[in-house]
């Protein structure tokens, strides 16, 4: 008897392998709705990026030291001394941004195709929770290199916490592990980033996938009128959809490696608690909130800003229970589509304003200084001959 048969016999003698085989085969060859296409790969892409982040994160952990004295030096060591250390660090840094982008695109597809509607409301809610966990991953991981930008972006980010009514001061003190961003903050963010968030994300992913498999992918038919999928009409998950996912994984790897080589992330100057660098800005996914906060001023401005930044997330969580129309096809949901486009374009516009604020820009041959709030003020070139910054 060959080794394979011996192993099979070992398991057959002890477990109900026939039942396990049937369960796996049912999931592997499950039929997906006929309209399932390339856009339906975005969820798997997010998952694969999480796996990539986990693997590269574990590799970085071997050399990383989470203390103020050693963190920045250990990142330098990984980049300069460890073989292929630069590559894993770059893939991890770029992977974080691309994972957030993939999650946003996946949610956008789900929103416009009405796939969050009954019976898939909880699949959507767990998806929004995954989105929040993913950007929290970004926020906590950003501090770990302990460079100037990371240190001060975290100082500004955690400063906002004390504007929360009643518990604000406690919350900020708890998050930082003290009055200011110190080694205590680094330890806390490190533990959250490498222990708590990975397990929380894994748990919610399992629930999300379970719910998604239970109710299958949504069709574009009206709620309650989805016809049972006939086997001859559907697309088999394996091999057809899995092949598409394989193509996307290869492309993702190519993009990650290319970006790592062509546009590497800088290590930056080590954190200095006694000097704030000019014009610190957060990562692109926090730019809309960063810009929005600037429009709320006065004694209650920060509080109103926090409420303003929380509203989109609360709306996202509650959306399947607010939009209870039966239609799924985007052409038959004009209000929801316009609302979604408004939200998406609004966030992009705010993010762009945040990106160009407090810089000089050229538009149609004229130079402008973009103020803190994003208003363009013409620059008189006759008195100021400095070149424009982009």
């Amino acid at each position: 008897m060959g080794l394979g048969k011996t192993v099979k016999q070992f398991f057959d003698d002890r477990y109900d392998t026939k039942l396990a085989g049937e369960l796996i085969s049912k999931q592997a060859f499950k039929r997906l709705p006929p309209h399932t296409g390339w856009l339906h790969v975005l969820g798997s892409l997010s998952l694969l990026l999480f796996i990539s982040q986990t693997i590269t994160g574990i590799m970085l952990l071997i050399y990383y030291r989470p203390t103020p004295e050693a963190a920045h030096k250990s990142i330098q060591f990984i980049t300069a001394e460890v073989q292929f250390g630069w590559l894993y660090r770059q893939i991890h840094a770029w992977g974080a941004s691309i994972m957030i982008l993939a999650v946003i695109l996946h949610m956008t597809r789900t929103y416009f195709m009405g796939a969050y509607k009954k019976p898939r409301e909880l699949t959507w809610v767990t998806g929004v929770i995954l989105f929040i966990l993913t950007i929290t991953f970004g926020f906590t991981g950003y501090l770990l290199p302990w460079n100037q930008i990371a240190f001060w972006a975290t100082t500004v980010g955690t400063e906002s916490a004390n504007k929360v009514p009643v518990i604000g001061d406690w919350l900020q003190y708890f998050l930082r592990g003290g009055d200011a961003v110190t080694g205590e903050t680094l330890s806390r963010f490190f533990v959250v980033h490498v222990i708590i968030l990975p397990w929380a994300l894994t748990g919610v992913i399992v629930v999300h996938l379970f719910l998604m498999r239970m109710s299958n992918l949504a069709t574009l038919e009206r709620v309650g009128e989805e016809a049972p999928l006939k086997p001859e009409h559907g697309i088999p998950f394996f091999p057809v959809h899995v092949a598409k996912e394989g193509v996307v994984v290869m492309m993702m790897l190519a993009v990650l490696v290319t970006l790592s080589v062509v546009s590497p992330w800088e290590i930056g100057e080590p954190a200095n608690a006694l000097e704030t660098p000019p014009h610190i800005k957060p990562e692109w996914y926090f730019l809309p909130s960063y810009q929005l906060l600037k429009y709320f001023e006065g004694p209650y401005g920060a509080l109103m800003g926090i409420i303003g930044c929380s509203v989109p997330f609360v709306l996202l969580l509650l959306w399947p229970f607010l939009d209870r129309g039966k239609e799924r096809h985007p052409k038959k949901r004009p209000i929801a589509v316009v609302f979604g486009l408004f939200g998406l374009l609004g966030a992009m516009f705010l993010g762009y304003l945040g990106h160009i604020s407090e810089t000089d820009q050229s538009f149609f041959g004229k130079r402008y200084h973009i103020t803190l709030k994003g208003w363009p003020e013409p620059i008189d070139d006759s008195t100021d001959a400095a070149p424009p910054t982009h």
Partner: protein
């Protein structure tokens, strides 16, 4: 009044109640030390007097950033003596810098300006810079929060 209100509790119901209460008490008893453990162990300080190194060599109008406890503090020498303010901008926590020529504290993050007394001149900060206590003992200068 519903009829079941008059019924004496069953043995099963009583045991369920005891188990639920026991689980609740255990959860609270286990959680409290856990939450206390997570609460930051040390306060940031700031109560101690910190000497301003080289204060006697500072020219009038010159400023210097020092650390008092976990707080960054800007000490400025005026004609009338030394003054110290928290360097932490009351908007979003960036550190202000003393601009000797403008006689003002400037925040590099959102272009806020505070005057030499720490009051907001322009920009988004909602409050002035908190002032620190300066003590002159002989030719030495000490700064503390209280």
């Amino acid at each position: 009044m519903p009829s079941n209100m008059n019924k004496p509790p069953s043995r099963r119901g009583f045991l369920d109640w005891i188990v639920a209460l026991g689980t609740m008490i255990t959860t609270v008893a286990v959680s409290i030390p856990g939450l206390m453990y997570l609460w930051p162990a040390a306060k940031g300080g700031g109560d101690e007097n910190v000497e301003v190194e080289g204060a006697s060599k500072m020219a009038t109008g010159q400023g210097k950033t020092i650390q008092v406890g976990s707080q960054a503090v800007v000490v400025v020498r005026h004609r009338s003596g030394f003054k110290a303010f928290s360097a932490v901008c009351t908007h979003l926590g960036c550190l202000v810098k003393w601009d000797q020529s403008a006689k003002a504290f400037l925040c590099p993050c959102h272009a806020a300006i505070f005057d030499e007394n720490g009051k907001v001149v322009s920009g988004p900060p909602p409050a002035p810079l908190p002032e620190f206590v300066v003590k002159e003992i002989g030719d030495k200068i000490f700064v503390s929060a209280t």
